[in-house]
C-alpha cells in the first residue's frame, strides 16, 4: 500500500537534493514528475494520518474520490507540461518540484491550517514562476494580492478555531453543521475572499491580466491548467463539503461566480491577442466552476474542471509557443499559422471546441451533465447565464480558429504568409504532448464512461455533498 504522503515528500526531498547537486536539477525534476505520476496510479482511497496522532489532533490526508481526481489531474498534467517544455526550464527546476509538492498537498490535506501552509507554498512558487516573463511589476502585484488573500483566509480560519476549537476539516464540518448558518457569515466570507484571489473570482482577480498575458509555453499551461485546477479543487473541497453556507450568502456568491463568467467572456470577446483571449476565458471558466461548486453540484463542477484543465493546457502551450518563437501572439499577425503546423492546429482546435462544449469532445459531455444537473436543482437563471457565456465563448473561439486556419490577405502560404518577423516553430515534444492531451479529450467525448470511471467512482460525489470521509470523531472523547 502506498501512502499518498509520498506524493508530497518525494518531490520535496528531490527539491532539497537538487540544491546540493545543481547540475542534475533538470534530471531530478523529470524523475520526480515521472515518479509522482506513477505513484498516483497505485494509491488506495482512505484516510492517512501523519505523525501517528489521530485527527482532529494530528494532521491527516484525505484521499477520497474528489482528491483522487484532483491528484490524477495535477500529476498527469504536470508531467505532460514539464516534458513538453523542458527547454524553458531555465533555473526553475527546484521551484517546480516544490510546486508539485505544494499542489498535491493542497488537494490532499484534511486540515485547514495545513491547507494555509500549502496555499502559501504554492502561491510563492507561482510568484516566482510569474517573474519568468521579466515583468516584475505584475509578479509583485500578484504577490501583494496573494499574500493579502491568504492572510484573510488565515483570519477566517482562526475565527473558526476560536469558536469551534478545532482545525480539522471533517471535525469542523460536523460542528459547523450544528450551528445556525447566519453565525458563520463572517468567517465564510473571509475564507471565500482569501480563496477567491487564487481562484480568480471578480473583483479579486486584478493580478490575472498582467501575469497570464506574459506567460511562456511552460508557465502558461502550468498556471492555466495545473494551478487553476489545484486551487479550484481546494475551493470545491471547502465550499461544497466543509463550510455550510446560508441561503442568502450562497445565492449571492453564486451570482458573483456567474458575473465572473459573463465578465470574463465579454472581455475575451473584445481582445485580439491570443493569450489575452485565453486568459479572460480562464477567468470565465473559473467563475463558472466556482458557481457550480457553490451550488453544491460537485460532480458536474469536477467534470467541467477537468475539461477546462485539459483544454487550457493545449491552448496555452500553443499560444505560449507562438509568442516564444515568433515574438507575438497577435491574432492578425499569425493568420494561417496552423496551415504549416497541422497537428498542433488540430490539437488547438479540439481543445477550443471541447472548451465550448461541442459534441465529439469531452466538453460536450461535461456541459450536458452540467445543464441537466442545474435544471434538476431547480435553478433556472444559472443555465441561461451559462448558455449565454457559451455562446459568447463560441463566437470568439471560432473567430480565432478561422483566423489561424485561413491564410492572410495575400492568400498564399509561404514563410511570408504571416506577418511575424521570425517563423513559427513547434518542437516535436510539444506536438506529442498536444496529441496526447487531444486524444484524452476525444476519448472523453466518444467513450465518456472510460474517463468517468477512472476519474471518479461515477456519481458518488453527485449524491453526497457531505464529505464521504467523515470518521468517528467522538471516539475516545
Amino acid at each position: 500500500m502506498v501512502n499518498p504522503v509520498l506524493l508530497i515528500a518525494l518531490p520535496l526531498l528531490l527539491a532539497f537534493v537538487s540544491i546540493v547537486f545543481k547540475a542534475y536539477k533538470n534530471n531530478l525534476l523529470v524523475f520526480g514528475t515521472l515518479l509522482n505520476a506513477g505513484l498516483v496510479l497505485t494509491l488506495n482511497k482512505g484516510q492517512y494520518i501523519i505523525g501517528g496522532f489521530q485527527p482532529p489532533f494530528g494532521i491527516n490526508l484525505v484521499l477520497d474520490d474528489f482528491a483522487l481526481t484532483g491528484i490524477l489531474i495535477i500529476n498527469g498534467l504536470f508531467l505532460v507540461i514539464t516534458l513538453m517544455s523542458l527547454e524553458k526550464l531555465e533555473g526553475f527546476a527546484s521551484v517546480l518540484l516544490v510546486a508539485l509538492a505544494g499542489l498535491n498537498g493542497l488537494v490532499l490535506t484534511g486540515d485547514l491550517f495545513n491547507l494555509f501552509v500549502f496555499l502559501e507554498i504554492t502561491a510563492i512558487t507561482a510568484y516566482i514562476l510569474s517573474s519568468a516573463s521579466k515583468e516584475y511589476r505584475y509578479a509583485f502585484n500578484y504577490l501583494v494580492l496573494g499574500t493579502l488573500g491568504s492572510g484573510l483566509y488565515l483570519f477566517g480560519l482562526i475565527v473558526l478555531y476560536a469558536v469551534f476549537g478545532t482545525l480539522n476539516m471533517a471535525d469542523l464540518s460536523v460542528k459547523m453543521a450544528a450551528v445556525d448558518a447566519s453565525q458563520l457569515v463572517l468567517p465564510s466570507l473571509l475564507i471565500f475572499i482569501g480563496l477567491a484571489v487564487e481562484v480568480k473570482i471578480l473583483p479579486f482577480n486584478g493580478w490575472v491580466k498582467g501575469v497570464y498575458s506574459g506567460t511562456n509555453s511552460l508557465v502558461g499551461p502550468l498556471f492555466a491548467s495545473v494551478y487553476a485546477a489545484g486551487m479550484l479543487f481546494v475551493f470545491g473541497r471547502i465550499f461544497a463539503q466543509v463550510i455550510p453556507l446560508g441561503t442568502y450568502l450562497r445565492t449571492s456568491l453564486v451570482v458573483l461566480g456567474a458575473l465572473t463568467l459573463l465578465a470574463g467572456e465579454v472581455a475575451a470577446l473584445s481582445k485580439t491577442r491570443i493569450r489575452e483571449i485565453l486568459l479572460y476565458s480562464s477567468i470565465g471558466q473559473s467563475g463558472l466552476i466556482a458557481a457550480l461548486f457553490l451550488s453544491g453540484l460537485v460532480f458536474v463542477a469536477v467534470m467541467q474542471l477537468v475539461n477546462n484543465a485539459l483544454s487550457k493546457a493545449i491552448l496555452f502551450t500553443v499560444a505560449g509557443q507562438m509568442a516564444d518563437s515568433t515574438g507575438t501572439d497577435e491574432g492578425e499577425e499569425l493568420q494561417g499559422a496552423f496551415l504549416e503546423h497541422k497537428i498542433a492546429g488540430v490539437g488547438f482546435t479540439i481543445a477550443a471546441l471541447s472548451l465550448i462544449g461541442l459534441p465529439l469532445f469531452y466538453g460536450f459531455i461535461s456541459k450536458m451533465n452540467l445543464l441537466f444537473g442545474i435544471f434538476y436543482s431547480d435553478n433556472y437563471w444559472l443555465p441561461v447565464v451559462i448558455l449565454l457565456g457559451t455562446v459568447i465563448e463560441g463566437t470568439y473561439m471560432v473567430r480565432l480558429l478561422v483566423k489561424l486556419w485561413t491564410p492572410g490577405d495575400e492568400g498564399i502560404v509561404s514563410e511570408k504568409a504571416f506577418a511575424t518577423e521570425r517563423p513559427l516553430t513547434i518542437q516535436s515534444s510539444k506536438v506529442m504532448g498536444i496529441v496526447v492531451l487531444s486524444v484524452v479529450l476525444l476519448i472523453g467525448g466518444l467513450l465518456p464512461a472510460v474517463i468517468q470511471d477512472n476519474l471518479t467512482d461515477s456519481g458518488s460525489l453527485l449524491d453526497e455533498v457531505t464529505p464521504a470521509y467523515l470518521f468517528d470523531l467522538k471516539g475516545g472523547q
Partner: protein, 114 residues
C-alpha cells in the same frame, strides 16, 4: 484591548495597501497587516489567569491553567511565512527599480493594486 489593536492593525494594513503607490510602503503595509493578524491569533488563545505553556520545575504539572498553545504554534509558522513573502517582495521591488528606475507603481503604469 490587545485583540482590538490586532484588528485595528489589520484594517490599517488594508488601508495602506489600498492607498499607497510606493512599493516599499506597500510591503510595509503588508507587514503591518500580518503583524495585526498575528497579534489577533495569539489573543484568541489568551487566558488571563493562564501561564505560559511550558512545564518547568516551578509550574510542573498539567493540571495548571495554561494559555492555549496551538495559536502560538500557528503564529510561529505564520511569522516565518511572512518573512519569506517579505523577502521575495523586496527582491521584486529591487528588480522593478532596476527595470523602471522608480518605486512608484503609478509612474510605472501597471495595474494598481486593490
Amino acid at each position: 484591548m490587545i485583540q482590538y489593536a490586532g484588528i485595528m492593525l489589520i484594517l490599517i494594513g488594508i488601508y495602506g495597501l489600498l492607498t499607497q503607490s510606493n512599493i516599499i510602503k506597500i510591503i510595509v503595509s503588508l507587514n503591518i497587516f500580518e503583524l495585526g493578524l498575528n497579534v489577533f491569533i495569539i489573543s484568541v488563545g489568551f487566558v488571563r489567569e493562564g501561564i505560559a505553556p511550558i512545564l518547568t520545575s516551578v509550574n510542573n504539572h498539567n493540571g495548571l491553567v495554561f494559555v492555549d498553545p496551538l495559536p502560538q504554534a500557528l503564529v510561529l509558522t505564520a511569522i516565518v511565512i511572512g518573512l519569506g513573502t517579505t523577502a521575495l517582495g523586496l527582491a521584486f521591488a529591487r528588480s522593478i527599480y532596476r527595470q523602471h528606475g522608480t518605486l512608484n507603481l503609478d509612474e510605472i503604469g501597471g495595474p494598481s493594486n486593490g
